[in-house]
């Protein structure tokens, strides 16, 4: 069986090291937080100026001055700290975060990321922190469906959408499999409800199938 969105989020969460500093991009990556048990000691960064971010706020907890990068109200657990935007992005760009988890339109076989712009003529460009996040962690995990709705692969030889970052993705999590971007190519780490051989037939990139 291919993974549900919740299962995919749980799979990403499983691979985040104990005590890691992590930024979860807006959208689907936010769901990873639901699968990080407190005893894992994972510390969440939100680029609008907070480390140690808590869960989504509910009811009386909602405070318009306390939001995440997706502008969703969150909570302040013990040990949380605040800083300004330049310090927050210096923290990212300086490579201090262990993991960023991002969504994507496309990832190339060498780890190029496209996730900010579809390149459509009428679209209003909006990059936010995407380009900083793409280069802002020791490891960048992408969470996405492996195919678009019309069946086109999103793990591709070369991105056709405008790039967010060059050679920045370390791992790609999809409903059908987890892929490691290595120097020599893309390695299949695990598959869900499909064999590696079947996966190979549906993708335009050469998959490395076995750990050396």
């Amino acid at each position: 069986m291919s993974l549900s969105k919740a299962e995919l989020a749980a799979t990403v969460a499983r691979d985040i090291p104990h005590g890691a500093y992590v930024n979860l991009g807006i959208g689907q990556p936010t769901m990873v937080a639901d699968h990080l048990a407190p005893d894992r000691g994972v510390v969440l960064h939100t680029e609008n100026g907070m480390l140690g971010m808590g869960r989504a706020a509910v009811g009386d907890e909602i405070d318009p001055d306390l939001i995440n990068a997706g502008k969703v109200p969150v909570t302040q657990p013990p040990g949380a700290v605040y800083f300004h935007h330049a310090d927050s992005f210096a923290m990212m760009r300086g490579g201090h975060l262990d993991v960023c988890v991002l969504g994507a339109f496309q990832v190339s076989a060498r780890g190029d990321l496209a996730n900010w712009h579809t390149g459509e003529p009428g679209a209003i460009p909006a990059v936010g922190g995407a380009m900083d996040l793409a280069i802002g962690a020791k490891q960048v995990f992408v969470m996405m469906t492996l195919f678009t709705r019309d069946g086109t692969p999103k793990l591709v030889p070369e991105c056709t959408y405008p790039l967010t970052g060059l050679r920045c993705v370390s791992r790609v999590y999809t409903e059908l499999g987890v892929f490691e971007i290595e120097e020599g190519g893309v390695r299949v780490r695990e598959t869900f409800g499909i064999t590696p051989a079947e996966l190979q037939t549906r993708l335009d990139i050469e998959l490395l199938q076995d750990r050396p």
């Binding site: 502008k71 935007h85 460009p125 280069i135 060059l166």
Partner: protein, 219 residues
């Protein structure tokens, strides 16, 4: 030395047509809505506004855009679920847009405030937003040369000020305020409360009064 004003209108007086205005806030958090409203009433036009977003709903920055006072937006993320005012102006060709990655926006304003002439930053290498920019490989890593972003005016919101203009912020409403305060010729701040000098913890002040020119209390 910070001056203290009785109203938002008094605090923004003298802002001229054609100014570059740095506007604090990330979405609504930290957006200095009352100062922006006063700028709208002042009527200064042909403005360049530097702000992370391009307005929410019909208030604050969005209302300033509706009034036709803004020639150009410099921001990282204009497109939001409630950015219909900007979207319409942009599609009608009535406003210019320069998209800057959020970290570059922050670091370029920091550079302006810190006397840095330019810096090689890691963000955007190989992307359309780095096209035409000087690039250099340093220690095996590629960088893009980025220049400071300066403002004539910064409009920001803080939590408290003392009578020296020292500022503290509140939670994630801090965001761009401290950086913008350093990057503008004149920094105008709306605060929730003005407290006596000595009441703020000297270890916890985020923006020293040297960066603050005008303060107004908006409760």
């Amino acid at each position: 030395m910070a001056g203290f004003y009785d109203s938002a209108d008094a605090a923004v007086a003298g802002i001229t047509d054609g100014s570059t205005i740095l506007v604090g806030g990330f979405g609504s958090a930290g957006q200095p809505v009352e100062l922006i409203d006063a700028l709208r009433r002042l009527g200064a036009r042909d403005l360049t506004v530097v702000s992370n977003n391009a307005g929410n709903g019909d208030f604050g920055l969005a209302a300033l855009l509706t009034a036709g006072q803004v020639r150009k937006m410099v921001c990282s993320f204009p497109r939001q679920s409630d950015s219909w005012v900007f979207d319409e102006l942009y599609r009608a060709g009535k406003i210019e847009l320069e998209v800057v990655p959020q970290g570059n926006l922050a670091e370029r304003m920091r550079a302006a405030g810190a006397g840095i002439g330019a810096f090689f930053g890691p963000t955007g290498v190989g992307t359309p937003l780095a096209e035409g920019k000087e690039q250099r490989t340093i220690d095996g890593r590629q960088y893009v040369l980025e220049y400071p972003i300066r403002g004539d005016i910064a409009l920001i919101k803080a939590h408290r000020s003392d009578r020296m203009g020292n500022l503290v912020y509140r939670k994630t409403a801090r965001n761009f305020g401290p950086v913008m305060a350093t990057a503008a010729t004149t920094t105008v701040v709306q605060v929730g409360e003005i407290v006596p000098t000595g009441d703020l913890d000297p270890e916890a002040v985020v923006t020293p009064g040297i960066f603050v020119d005008r303060v107004v209390e908006i409760r």
